[in-house]
Amino acid sequence: MLKISSCSIVDSADEVDLGSEITLECIVCSTTPMDLTGEILLIKNQENIVVKHISLDEFYNDGNKTIQFVADAPITLGKHTWSIIYPAYEENDVWCGEEISQFSFIVKPHHTNLSAWDVPSVIGCGETFNMKLGVSCSSGCQPDGWSFCVHDQDGVEQADVLVGDDVYAGTDSLYYAECELNAPQKIGFYNWEAKVKRQNSDAVHEDSIVSFRVRVLEEPDSLLTIVAVDSATQVPIQGVQVQAHPYRAFTNENGIAEVRVPNGMYTLFVSGRNYFPFRTNNEVKKDLTIRAELVLDEGISDSDVWS
């Protein structure tokens, strides 16, 4: 006797994106091992329409399996049950009817992921600032006609920007747009949100939201100048990061970074580019220059470990 022992969706927890390509693999076993290589299986959807003919490709141990093959997922949401059919066959002069097995899966809307980045760490009251928003679809859909809608802390729409046609550098399918926004007029730390607005509000995609924070601070009073040098060579270091929370900057080719800050107490870090962090606590009352002598991390050698 034959038994269709399994049909599984490869690499999935039995949930598939609506209309997406799904990868399947079928295994057929028999009571006594039989090489069924080349025999054809039918895959039917729950409307009893054949969606795939696929041959058994490999006989192994006591089973036969297909290669991993692709079929189109249904275009209606919810639970679907498909049939896998081994056609009628003759065994020892006995005619055997077709063998049928079923498997089920859930068709769900495409998941979308939103990202928000390049928000300045500090913004002046009422200032215009730029940031980026990106969206990716779990099935890699292109965001035709989609836009990013940005709402401020009060739910007031601040921007509606079309998602671009280009994939963001380094990503597989993240479509993005640059937004120009206006910061609140009052000092504060605000939670803003962005979501995707789709034409026709299709049911194919789930809605999702990304939140980001907008920090509005008073006008700076003083100029903090950091000069970063290598402690051993005294050579200026370019590209190290300066942080006087929440202010951030990077040193230029002369090892210098300038940050305008309100007067007050700051913990200053200078680090990066393979240098150990330089840390100092300072009260800024007026323009201030700090020389940061950084120690290079030369790695752990035997000598370091053992002295």
Partner: protein
């Protein structure tokens, strides 16, 4: 979710015995000086064995059989051969050298050894390669065997956890070691090894004098062991992204300790010894895992020989049987299991147990986690450091020594700063035949690089202050302004109680428990194993731009140890799907990153106080990255108990006749690295020849 394979994995494209043509003959390469009776085919060889082993069919017979071709094994082999014995070395790998080949070659001996004397006098080496002055003050180099012995039995020297590396050393064993250091240094020099200026001392080698030296070649037009030269290509210095079959790890600049044009590392130690051994007629049976020592009776009588099984290593790219760098002296034997009779003795030098998670769990149960291999796993293969000597010794009644000395050493286990590779200890690049097993070289972010990411466990939660993760236990030192060690003054006072007073121990203390937190139970730890699972560095494109990390091949590859995604959620999915030891989903990763970003906004990390140590940066700019962070168990300090002749002792303190051991296979001497193994090999090779079959 289906639980993934928990076993120590087999090498990719594991060998199928049936696919190889089986050979029923023995093929030997031409070897100078090989005696006609030193190798016998199986049909002609039947040892005179005791009643319990009378049925053994000996396939080979030699005077001395050595399990393992690393620092102890190769040294023992040459020494025994010099003394007239026929010698066969059995090694599970396809090439010789063991850990020595990928080491830094730092060889700490002393006791007034010839290199110490040379440097005291400010002399060059005999070939005149060394053109720089001595690196240590002559007073730091004035040494005696008695001082060395005192140093390595000094009860007063402790580490930051108040444990002593020296207190528990076996006195007979280390006395013999100290006495043989000068002779071993000369022996190595006589076998084409060239030592640079002494600089410092290797761990466990005693603190009061400088005793460590690295091995070098001079860059030249051809690689010539006798001439002491190596091509830039073989040295791995011609192209920063390539290493060679000759030297799996890029050689380091040795200009400070030798002079311009010199390079150093373990290749300058291992290859000369291998060359000399082959030249002198030592036989090598590679691809052969040593399994058992055969004794007349299970717990009594002489050792008769060994059994060993075929352990072929096949090329990761083309599937062909891998070939050693040199072949002269190789015995091409492909039968599944063979028996080799040792007329005089067997020397166990097959390494320690750092690659055997079950054995190392004896010392740290959480390190039974198979996700973390030992160092150099690509080079050594799946059987490297698998406790074979320990297991075989126990089966014939051997005792153990120094098992507690595994704990708390700076290199025993630690978190590596090289991310995105399973083999996170070495710098091997494409060009070496085993690079394919590694797949990626990893990105060495250094200790400072840990401020650029968050580290999460197998469920996606942070577990420690990332900046502190790579911190290691400090080494043992004498008290003093700079910490007492060679090159930092001679005001040390051995055997002084003040060396271990609590104020000094507190001063040495280093907040180094990130490794313990990494191995801690978490929500993904399931009975009965409670594995802690892999750990991941999570960062974004901003971090790549800040640091300049090269997130490309050969540093990373699509091998399950690095991932890139458009979103954190997708990153978690990719890790769960693509990493061989990721047994559970990283269900908290998205939440963890969101929480972290809020901490950065606030300038405070209430969970681990990162803001105290380093700046914090958000993880928001796509794409997002995950690189594996590896815990490495590097070496072993516990093992078989041996006496001063390297003879293995049983549970009653009696010598097991005909059985010797050295290097990481033995315990009782908490000394790191090569100096221990070479001297053990020298002693074992000397006495193994004297041992005569009953």
């Amino acid at each position: 979710m289906t639980k993934k394979n928990d076993d120590t994995r087999d090498e990719a494209k594991a060998h199928d015995d049936k696919t190889l043509s089986r050979r029923d003959f023995v093929k030997t390469s031409a070897v100078a000086g090989l005696g006609a009776t030193s190798l016998l085919e199986s049909d002609n060889t039947h040892a005179q064995s005791s009643p319990s082993n009378e049925n053994i069919q000996w396939d080979y017979e030699v005077d001395v059989v050595i399990a393992g071709g690393g620092c102890a094994g190769l040294t023992a082999a040459i020494r025994a051969r010099d003394l007239g014995a026929s010698v066969m070395v059995v090694d599970q790998n396809y090439d010789l050298g063991g850990r020595m080949l990928h080491s830094g070659s730092f060889t700490s001996l002393g006791g007034g050894d010839p290199v110490q004397v040379r440097d005291i006098n400010g002399e060059s080496d005999t070939e005149g390669f060394i053109t720089v002055p001595s690196a240590e003050d002559p007073k730091e180099l004035e040494d005696t065997i008695d001082l060395l012995f005192t140093d390595i039995t000094d009860w007063s020297v402790v580490d930051p956890k108040a444990q002593s590396p020296y207190r528990y050393n076996d006195r007979e064993l280390v006395r013999a070691w100290a006495e043989n250091c000068p002779a071993t240094r000369q022996f190595l020099i006589d076998n084409y090894v060239r030592f640079a200026r002494i600089s410092g001392t290797h761990g466990g080698g005693g603190l009061s004098r400088a005793r460590g030296s690295r091995c070098f070649f001079m860059l030249g037009e051809k690689t010539d062991i006798k001439a002491g030269t190596i091509t830039p290509e073989d040295a791995g210095v011609a192209d920063y992204e390539r290493t060679s079959a000759f030297a799996p790890v890029q050689m380091m600049d040795a200009s400070r300790l030798v002079g311009p044009g010199a390079v150093m590392n373990g290749a300058a130690l291992s290859r000369p010894l291998e060359y000399s051994a082959r030249e002198k007629g030592v036989q090598f049976m590679l691809h052969r895992h040593f399994d058992e020592v055969i004794r007349e009776n299970p717990f009594s009588g002489r050792i008769l020989g060994v059994s060993a099984h075929y352990s072929p290593r096949q090329h990761p790219d083309n599937g062909e049987l891998m070939q050693s760098y040199w072949q002269n002296g190789n015995v091409d034997e492909r039968r599944q299991t063979i028996h080799i009779r040792a007329r005089r003795s067997v020397i166990l030098a097959s390494g320690g147990h750092a690659g055997n998670p079950e054995v190392r769990s004896m010392f740290y149960p959480a390190m039974r986690e198979p996700a973390f291999p030992t160092s150099g796993v690509a080079l050594q293969g799946p059987h490297g450091q698998d406790a074979s000597a320990l297991i075989a010794g126990l089966k014939v009644g051997a005792n153990l020594a120094g098992m507690q000395q595994n704990i708390s050493y700076p290199t025993t286990f630690h978190i590596a700063p090289r991310l995105g590779t399973r083999d996170a200890y070495t710098t091997m690049m494409p060009g070496h035949p085993t690079f394919g097993f590694r797949g990626s070289a990893g990105i060495n972010v250094g200790s400072v690089g840990f401020e650029e990411f968050i580290a999460v466990n197998q469920v996606g939660k942070r577990f420690f202050n990332e900046v502190r993760l790579p911190a290691r236990p400090s080494p043992s030192r004498y008290p003093g302004a700079d910490g007492g060690s060679p090159g930092r003054g001679l005001d040390h006072k051995p055997l002084d109680w003040r060396n271990c007073r609590k104020e000094w121990v507190r001063e040495m203390y280093n907040y180094d428990h990130g490794l313990d937190a990494a191995l801690a139970l978490n929500e993904g730890s399931e009975a009965p194993d409670y594995y802690s699972g892999p750990i991941w560095a999570i960062f974004d494109q901003d971090a790549v731009e800040r640091t300049g990390w090269e997130v490309r091949y050969p540093y990373i590859a699509d091998n399950g140890y690095s991932f890139k995604a458009d979103s954190i959620e997708e990153l978690a999915q990719k890790i769960a799907k693509g990493h061989e030891f990721q047994r559970v989903p990283l269900k908290y990763l998205t939440e963890t990153v969101e929480t972290w970003n809020r901490y950065v906004d606030a300038g405070k990390d209430p969970e681990f106080e990162r803001e105290v140590d380093a700046p914090m940066n958000q993880i928001v700019k796509p794409p997002f990255y995950a690189l594996s962070i590896m815990v490495i168990w590097h070496d072993s300090y516990g093992g078989l108990r041996v006496n001063g002749r390297q003879q293995v002792l049983d549970m009653r303190g009696q010598v097991i006749p005909g059985l010797y051991a050295g290097g990481e296979a033995v315990g009782g001497f908490n000394k790191h690295g090569l100096g221990k193994g070479h001297v053990h090999g020298y002693i074992a090779g000397t006495h193994a020849v004297e041992d005569v079959s009953a």
